[in-house]
């Protein structure tokens, strides 16, 4: 199971918005209607393909409860991508987005890609936050936006993959320092250092060397 890149993600947002369910749907392709409260942080992983390259996603699903906030903050720095989730049927989870965003921006590295996700799109009848509002918030703060349903799996795959695409593009543009593991990006052990499409090809070789010994 070799991979070209490894990205670290975190999932953040208020309690009960469906963070753990999103992860479960993405990694196991199943939905669990009754899910225990996440204690601290839980781990999940999956392989995806972008641009015909294998990319491994390591995802840390954080607890939304206020009590765990100081613990979950420790995970911002080392992540390349963040899924900021709210619940379209609960207005207050949308209202708290600014707090979450401030927190994330303050503790993460500046290049972290943040994807805004309005979850539970299957509950159209109980909707309290319009799709346009989510779009506007995302536009205003420079985020990518998507509405998903962890229950029906709608857009779940896309949310994770689009975030990865965004990170991948940033790597191609040379925005990320791929040799600094603190950015949440790792180059795969078997990744060819002479790949011409890669701007940081030389650096990639160096990191590979240190990974082998």
């Amino acid at each position: 199971m070799s991979y070209a890149y490894l990205f670290k993600y975190i999932i953040i947002g208020d309690t009960g918005v469906g963070k753990s369910c999103l992860l479960l749907q993405f990694t196991d392709k199943r939905f669990q209607p009754v899910h225990d409260l996440t204690i601290g942080v839980e781990f999940g992983a999956r392989m995806i393909t972008i641009d015909s390259k294998q990319i491994k996603l390591q995802i840390w699903d954080t607890a939304g409860q206020e009590a765990f906030r100081s613990i979950t903050r420790s995970y911002y720095r080392g992540a390349a991508g963040a899924l900021l989730v709210y619940d379209i049927t609960r207005r207050e989870t949308f209202n708290h987005l600014t707090t979450w965003l401030d927190d994330a921006r303050q503790h993460s590295n500046s290049n972290m890609v943040i994807m805004l996700i309005g979850n539970k799109s299957d509950l159209e009848s109980r909707r309290e936050v319009k799709k346009e509002e989510g779009e506007a918030f995302a536009r205003e703060h420079g985020l990518v936006f998507m509405e998903t349903s962890a229950k029906t799996a709608a857009n779940v795959e896309e949310a994770f993959i689009n975030t990865a695409k965004e990170i991948y593009e940033k790597i191609q543009e040379g925005v990320f320092d791929i040799n600094n593991e603190a950015n949440g990006i790792k180059i795969g052990p078997q990744h060819s250092p002479t790949n011409p499409s890669l701007p940081g090809a030389g650096g990639a070789g160096g990191s590979q060397g240190s990974g082998c010994c």
């Binding site: 995970y75 080392g78 010994c213």
Partner: protein
């Protein structure tokens, strides 16, 4: 603080003569640190305090703690003084007692009674004082970022000392300290080895039983860094640092499913696998004690990943990875290798067991491994030979049993294979088989072998009705030429004949596993003469010593199984007869007590805790995990079976009721039936009502929703309307106000303009006239001038001297030009 001072006085007594006591010296130094204005002085005093902090720990701590803390804050730019302070704090908060301290205490021993108490707890007390303010921990954390060796190293040591004394408090503070764990993790990249190694110790203590910190440490790339350090230090041949790395890995993974998942997904099992490959010349160079320790840790690490306590899904994924990365292969190679130390071999057997447990592919792989003996034998056979060999160490024999249990766990094919080796067949069996080994062990002279074999054999029958039946076909001959007996009969006979408790319990567990859910086995057992009498005697015994209550309880349990899984084909021991036997001979209460004594026994609690059989002494092995599971699930079944028998029992007596009573009974029955019907109807009604209620609620919700929307719209519209009308009003008023004053003003202005214009015109006319006058006058003036000049000329001609300024000027001018 007062507490310490008073303690101090009693420790030191009155100061003798001129010689300053330790306390006085410390006091002077402390006051110098706090009052001196020169950095050099403070530094010297701190250095002196550090030197005294071991011998006069109590004094330095009691008087100096606050001052030292101040220095850390105020003089933080001076690395030297910070270093001294950190060292001093490290000494006074240390958990261990220093030699110098003991010397000091011995000198003053004549005066103190409660001294031992203070000495032992002084470090912890000072730690507690220091930790009262969480900011202090953050302060020490911040010194980890200082590159200077004199600061960073003692900071690491101080933090380690704090954690050792008060792990929970420090863990909680670091957890909420921003980037606290990250700062500590960065220390693993330190190129000064002494700091890196101490940081490892720090992290080992920090990560103990705190899942949140463990996860953050793992998130901060701990696995990568630790494997880097292990490889830098020479892998399993490396020194104690390698062991420390493994200890930290163990801390991160033990009981932490999330981290185990991460470890597996991060392909770290791949990195672990090659380390298990033994070098070909190991037999010659031998195992160094450090290598044994390192290896032991690695085996524990593997077991942590596949521990039966972990969720099945995670275990299965790790087991698969271990097969695919050839880790399992490397482990079985170790089993076969020569010169492996006994404790490593034992632990490897346990590890192999857990790597294959419940995983068919791995179990199959294991069953096909051949030992390189002559002729080659399956490794399972070789292992079982050790299990039934009295001379082998107990832990090794336990490990083999565990490994064998793991091999059979959820492995019907494996169970079948073992039982198959016991069945009478036409094939000439050339070599020893597993079945033969177990049977000879089962009825041998060694009690422990009996127990091991019985338990091993019972695992062939767990949840496997087919093998329970097959095993009934097995015949054994105790002596050559004797009449062969069925295995179960043989067990029942052996049970009555042997005097050893361990053997009896082993056989009872085998029989219980065999007879549960198997009417055939029960039938065979009931056919053995004396078997039931033996059980009854044991179950009804009222006295016991030394774990005999277990024997009695197990016998009662077996009786219960005979009732629950009885097909009534033995007329003497039908369900009914047996339950009457229990009731009459044993008594229901005694019977229940016997059963509950088993499940309340500490041996039972210990065995039920984990699948691995553990024992310090051979006599400790009495009950076993799978049996405990069976006992737990069957206890209820037995009570139920006995209860039903009693009900039937009393049901028979219905016939003996008088006619009147019978009529009454029928009447009541009728009544109950009617009430039952009513209840059902009502329940149905209730259901319908509930449904209707729900519908109505939903409708109400909808209506409320629409209503709300309408109200919202209404208010919105009203607001709009209000806004519109007010707008119009404002505009109107604006127009009204602005036009009239403008008009009058305009006309005024126009008037003025007109007046000014006319004024202007008259003035212009005047100006013209004046100008014309001026021109005329000028003309006149020129004429006059001309005339004047002509008159002057004529006067000059006439010889009159005309003296005036003008001609003078002219002459000067002409001269100049």
């Amino acid at each position: 603080m007062d507490y310490f001072r008073s303690g101090l006085k009693s420790v030191l007594g009155p100061p003798p003569g001129n010689q300053p006591t330790g306390a006085e010296t410390v006091e002077r130094l402390v006051s110098r640190v706090s009052t001196s204005t020169l950095l050099e002085d403070r530094r010297d005093a701190c250095r002196a305090l550090r030197a005294l902090s071991k011998k006069f720990r109590l004094e330095v701590g009691a008087q100096g703690m606050d001052v030292l803390r101040q220095v850390l804050e105020l003089d933080r730019s001076d690395c030297e003084i910070v270093g001294y302070c950190l060292d001093t704090l490290c000494n006074i908060t240390a958990k261990q007692t220093f030699e110098e301290e003991i010397d000091n205490a011995v000198n003053n021993v004549q005066l103190n009674v409660g001294e031992d108490f203070t000495e032992t707890f002084v470090g912890e007390q000072f730690t507690e004082m220091f930790l009262k303010n969480p900011e202090n921990v953050n302060l020490v954390l911040s010194f980890m970022e200082e590159y200077d060796f004199r600061v960073r190293w003692p900071a690491v040591k101080l933090m380690t000392s704090l954690i050792l004394s008060k792990p929970k408090v420090v863990q909680d503070i670091i957890l909420v300290s921003p980037m606290g764990v990250s700062k500590l993790m960065d220390l693993l990249l330190e190129n000064r080895e002494v700091i890196r190694n101490d940081a490892l110790l720090l992290l080992i203590n920090l990560t103990k039983s705190n899942a949140n910190i463990q996860k953050i440490v793992a998130f901060e790339n701990a696995f990568d860094r630790l494997f880097d350090v292990i490889n830098d230090e020479g892998g399993t041949d490396g020194g104690i640092v390698v062991e420390d790395c493994f200890l930290l890995l163990l801390n991160l993974l033990r009981n932490n499913t999330s981290n185990i998942h991460f470890f597996k997904e991060g392909s770290y099992i791949q990195k672990l696998a090659p380390m298990f490959t033994l070098p070909p010349n190991l037999e010659e160079i031998g195992w160094s004690p450090q290598k044994v320790s390192n290896f032991h840790c690695m085996l524990l690490l593997v077991r942590t990943l596949v521990s039966p306590n972990n969720p099945a899904q995670v275990v299965a994924a790790c087991q698969k990875a271990m097969r695919n990365t050839n880790l399992l292969e490397a482990l079985t190679d170790i089993l076969m290798a020569a010169g492996v130390p006994a404790n490593i071999l034992t632990e490897t057997i346990n590890t192999v067991g857990e790597v294959i447990r419940g995983n068919l592919t791995n179990q199959e792989y294991f069953s096909n491994v051949q030992a390189p003996s002559n002729p080659p034998r399956p490794v399972i056979v070789v292992l079982l030979m050790s299990m039934v060999n009295e001379k082998q160490p107990l832990t090794l024999r336990c490990a083999v049993l565990y490994c064998f249990q793991c091999y059979l766990f959820k492995n019907e094919i494996g169970q079948q294979t073992v039982v198959h080796t016991l069945l009478p067949s036409n094939e000439a069996v050339a070599s020893v088989t597993t079945g033969q080994l177990l049977c000879s062990g089962l009825f041998g002279n060694d009690a422990l072998s009996n127990w091991f074999s019985a338990v091993a054999l019972s695992h062939c029958l767990v949840d496997n009705p087919a093998q329970k039946e097959q095993l009934l076909r097995v015949l054994v001959a105790t002596k050559a030429g004797a009449q062969p007996f069925g295995l179960l009969q043989q067990c029942a006979v052996f049970l009555q004949r042997t005097a050893r408790l361990q053997s009896k319990l082993g056989v009872l567990m085998l029989l219980a596993q065999w007879m549960a859910h198997s009417q055939q086995a029960v039938k065979v057992f009931l056919g053995v003469s004396g078997a039931m009498a033996f059980l009854t005697a044991q179950a009804s015994a009222s006295e016991y010593d030394d774990n005999e209550e277990l024997l009695q309880g197990l016998c009662a349990f077996l009786m219960g199984l005979c009732v629950a899984f009885n097909d009534n084909s033995e007329p003497n021991y039908s369900k009914e007869n047996l339950s009457q036997l229990i009731e009459k001979r044993v008594g229901i209460e005694t019977y229940c007590r016997k059963l509950s004594e088993v499940s309340h026994h500490e041996v039972y609690a210990l065995a039920a805790k984990q699948p691995q059989p553990r024992a310090k002494h051979s006599g400790d092995l009495l009950l076993e995990y799978e049996f405990c599971q069976l006992f737990k699930s069957m206890e209820g079944v037995i009570y139920q079976a006995l209860g039903r028998q009693r009900d039937l029992f009393s049901g028979i007596s219905e016939l003996s009721l008088s006619e009147h009573e019978n009529a009454l009974l029928v009447q009541y029955k009728e009544l109950i039936r009617e009430q039952d019907k009513q209840i059902q109807e009502l329940a149905a009604n209730m259901g319908a009502c509930k449904m209707r209620c729900k519908e109505l609620e939903a409708q109400l919700d909808d209506l409320q929703e629409t209503n709300k929307q309408l109200v919202d719209q209404n208010t919105l519209l009203r607001a709009q309307l209000a806004a519109n009308s007010s707008n119009i009003a404002i505009q109107d008023r604006h127009l009204d106000l602005s036009s009239p004053p403008n008009d009058s003003e305009n006309s005024d202005l126009l008037e003025k303009i007109r007046k000014l214009e006319s004024d202007n015109a008259t003035k212009a006319a005047d100006l013209d006239r004046i100008r014309k006058d001026q021109d005329d006058l000028l003309e006149l003036l020129t004429d006059q001038d001309v005339k004047l000049n002509s008159f002057k000329d004529r006067l000059k001609e006439l010889g009159e001297n005309v003296d005036d300024g003008e001609s003078d000027n002219n002459s000067v001018e002409s001269e100049n030009s």
